[in-house]
């Protein structure tokens, strides 16, 4: 054993997928008895690093050391034998089986070849008591709350590994009391010498529980620091890579006359998803939505579009109060939504470019007025040209197109329905620079044509470039609305980082 003092260490990890460098010479050291937060936006390489530390991926270069000794981790089960246990974001247990079985599955005590259920349940009771859970081990796991399930998952990971515990966004679906309960458990585990890696998007939680923090951006290690030396603003700046000194309001035409009010959300919200928010959207304006991943940006978009129904508050369209509880309601009002996860929620990969473009229009027309092929070709051709979609043919499957062209197809789909209001969730993620500029240009053009747009983006420069107004989300709450010269990256970072008690900028 060398004198690194790390329970788990990664040295010079490089991971390459195809020609994409997911991790570039990343070092990571985890001390026993510490809670180490791992931060970074989507695509920063967090999950790749975690998968390497748990053996799900093999590093292209570099090595993983357990207690200072190089180790090859073949798979998560193998990592478990080194004492490395993982709890994933979504509880990965079996809701249909008993609590005891979930704790011991694969390691059940046996007698004469049969599972010794009584011993298993007795042992479970003792283990669960250590976590302050007094539940019947023979009860079905699915009958308990998510928080209890999460604790059972942690108990399982600790029982089976016991040296390193990796928590991948464990609080994503917990409410505040449940998070506190979880934190008490983490503090206890820390005291007992366990090393904990904690991944989350909630900065408050990082500052509440973590001792040190490692920040990744674009696959590169930015820094590993003790949290005592950092402020919230420092952390956000490191994550987003924005130099706060860079300032000066952008030269947007100030005080553009606002168009008439198109949409008015009042105390609009959904339990466990987004706190009620107030937002008025005018014709001919772009409302940018900033915030870290998991801050409720996407959830807000989904509620606006009726993909998730709001359970409180009211919405009025052009002054008339109405209800939008399903996407069809939203489409009938002239809404369009380009979701964040293009592949899963946006495109129909196997359908042609033409079919992908006309599908929303067809949905709006209803069942009985089918567009014939010529009309479809005409519409697809028109938008294909206007949006400069680069496809060999409008009849090729859309999955063969590049990300940027796919995004243009989805945009065209909604533009074909002649919308009044468009919601774009991360419209420029994962697309090349040329297409990027084109999409930003399109956003500006649509605004000038009088459309109302809500654009969600992690790229602060980009949000600043096209937004007439910016709202900032934090911890599932709309925390600030920025106008005029406040629209600059520095103020946004400040607003994202501000503590709950601090006054929004």
């Amino acid at each position: 054993m060398t004198d690194t003092g790390y329970a788990l260490e990664a040295r010079g990890i490089v991971k390459i997928f195809g020609n994409h460098v997911a991790l570039d010479k990343v070092d990571f050291g985890l001390k026993p008895g510490e809670v180490h937060a791992l931060l970074g936006e989507n695509g920063a390489g967090k999950s790749t690093l975690i998968k390497i530390l748990t053996g799900a991926y093999q590093p292209t270069l570099g090595e993983v050391l357990v207690d200072g000794v190089p180790a090859t981790l073949n798979n998560p089960q193998h990592a478990q034998t080194y004492g490395i246990g993982t709890v994933y974001q979504e509880v990965n247990l079996l809701p249909n089986r008993s609590v005891a079985e979930n704790l011991y599955l694969g390691h059940q005590p046996t007698r004469f070849g049969f599972v010794d259920r009584r011993k298993m349940e007795r042992d479970s009771k003792i283990v669960l008591a250590r976590y302050g859970l007094n539940i019947d081990p023979s009860s079905e796991l699915g009958a308990h709350s998510v928080a209890v399930q999460q604790i059972v998952a942690i108990a399982r990971a600790v029982e089976l590994s016991g040296k390193v515990l990796i928590l991948d966004e464990p609080t994503a679906s917990l409410d505040r009391n449940e998070v506190e309960r979880l934190f008490e458990i983490i503090v206890d585990l820390k005291k007992s010498g366990l090393a904990v890696v904690f991944i989350t998007h909630f900065l408050d939680q990082v500052f509440a529980i973590a001792d040190r923090v490692t920040i990744l951006r674009n696959g590169k290690l930015i820094d590993t620091k003790s949290l005592d030396t950092l402020t919230r603003t420092d952390v956000v700046r490191l994550m987003l890579g924005k130099d706060i000194a860079f300032s000066g309001a952008t030269k947007l035409e100030e005080n553009r006359p606002l168009g008439e009010v198109l949409l008015d959300f009042k105390n609009y919200g959904r339990k466990r998803s987004v706190h009620p928010f107030n937002l008025t959207i005018h014709k001919g304006e772009v409302v940018g939505v900033a915030g870290l991943l998991g801050s409720g940006r996407t959830e807000m978009a989904r509620i606006m579009f009726g993909a998730d129904a709001a359970d409180e508050g009211t919405v009025s369209v052009s002054g008339t109060q109405t209800s939008i509880s399903r996407p069809t309601d939203a489409i009938a009002h002239g809404f369009g939504f380009c979701p964040e996860d293009r592949k899963a929620e946006g495109i129909f990969g196997d359908l042609s470019v033409r079919e992908n473009i006309v599908i929303a229009l067809q949905g709006k027309l209803g069942w009985f007025s089918a567009l014939n092929r010529d009309e479809q070709m005409e519409i697809a051709g028109r938008f294909g040209e206007a949006m400069d979609i680069r496809a060999a043919s409008l009849d090729m499957p859309v999955k063969l197109l590049s990300g940027g062209n796919q995004q243009k197809v989805i945009l065209s789909r909604w533009l074909a329905t002649d919308p009044a209001f468009l919601i774009l969730d991360e419209p420029t993620r994962g697309i090349d620079v040329g297409a990027h500029a084109e999409i930003v240009r399109t956003i500006n053009r649509l605004r000038d044509e009088g459309l109302a747009l809500v654009v969600i983006s992690s790229e602060l420069d980009e949000v600043v470039a096209y937004s007439s107004r910016i709202v900032v989300m934090r911890d599932r709450e709309l925390v600030a609305e920025l106008n005029g010269e406040n629209i600059n990256p520095g103020v946004i970072v400040q607003a994202i980082a501000n503590h709950r008690d601090g006054a929004p900028a």
Partner: protein, 324 residues
């Protein structure tokens, strides 16, 4: 109370009520003779249904069961009648062949990631086709061993008889229940039916378990085929057509969730008995068309699917919270 138990209790209750009503109309249905025949007449279906229970608990489906029964019957008959083998040797060969057949289907399902529905549909055509290629006709079996086994009965007071094949079915149900509820393999089966992704992350040997499940189903189908040949003293390539669907019905009526993860082997036993009761009632009545059996099965199935929906949707607080 455990949610899984509710459909089981419902089945037991329905069986008790239906049997009581039938006895009120035909008092002679309450006799050891009828009960003994219950077991004997449904033995082959019951044995196949045990295998189907495992498959459905794991979230799969096995459509090849009826065809494997038919194929085994023909194989055993041909080995005994044409090749002059001793029946026990013929049985062993048939079980080995079926085991390899089921394991192959399991391998295809796991490694090719093809839905079980398609793989076992292919298996069904293969087995049925294979049986018909061996012979197109019914092959009678006249062997003293067969005669000896059919005489092997336990007499019950009241003129009833517990036959060897009826007892075989009961024994297989007991062994099946022990495997499902008391072994690690059993817990893996439920784990796969609950959530295959979680199961593999929790260290369940998914490949091995999947192969074992389909091999077990085919082996039990082969035993069912052997029992069927003992029952009819012949092997016929078109025997047991559609038995896989009866087995699926028995499993679902017995309270096993069609999507997997919840259910009991004992429930399947009651399910098989309930199907048998309907048939016996129609025989006793004498005026009803035997197609009424199908109508009753259809109604029962529908009833149980609705019942399960209600139970599993209404009482899943944890799961619902997870989705929100």
């Amino acid at each position: 109370m455990n949610r899984s138990l509710r459909p089981l209790l419902a089945t037991a209750l329905i069986f008790a009520i239906a049997y009581a009503l039938a006895v009120m109309q035909f008092p002679s249905m309450f006799s050891t003779r009828v009960l003994g025949n219950f077991l004997t007449d449904n033995a082959f279906l019951g044995i196949a249904a045990v295998g189907m229970t495992f498959v459905i608990l794991s979230g799969g489906i096995d459509l090849s069961v009826g065809a494997v029964i038919g194929f085994t019957g023909v194989l055993v008959a041909v080995l005994i009648a044409w090749a002059g083998m001793h029946p026990l040797l013929a049985f062993a060969i048939a079980i080995l062949v079926a085991g390899a057949f089921g394991a192959t289907m399991g391998l295809a399902i796991h490694y090719l990631q093809v839905p079980a529905f398609i793989v076992t549909l292919a298996g069904m055509f293969l087995a049925r086709g294979g049986a018909s290629v061996i012979t197109r006709d019914s092959v009678p079996i006249n062997h003293e061993f067969y005669a000896w086994i059919s005489d092997l009965t336990i007499r019950l007071p009241g003129g009833g008889r517990l036959s060897f094949i009826g007892l075989t079915m009961v024994a297989i149900f007991i062994i099946g229940a022990l495997i499902a509820h008391r072994t690690k393999f059993g817990s893996y089966v439920y784990a796969l039916g609950g959530n295959p992704v979680s199961a593999s992350l929790m260290g369940v040997p998914v490949a091995r378990t999947t192969v074992a499940i389909y091999a077990l189903s085919s082996v039990l189908a082969a035993i069912s085929g052997i029992v069927f040949s003992l029952y009819t003293s012949a092997g016929y390539p078109l025997a047991a057509v559609g038995v896989e669907l009866d087995a699926i019905s028995a499993v679902v009526i017995g309270g096993t969730l069609l999507t997997g993860g919840h259910g009991f082997v004992l429930g399947t036993f009651i399910g098989v008995m309930l199907l048998g009761l309907v048939q016996t009632y129609i025989i006793f009545d004498g005026t009803l068309s035997s197609w009424w059996t199908k109508i009753v099965i259809g109604i029962l199935l529908f009833l149980f699917i609705v019942l399960q929906r209600l139970i599993f949707v209404a009482s899943a607080p944890g799961e619902k919270a997870a989705k929100a």
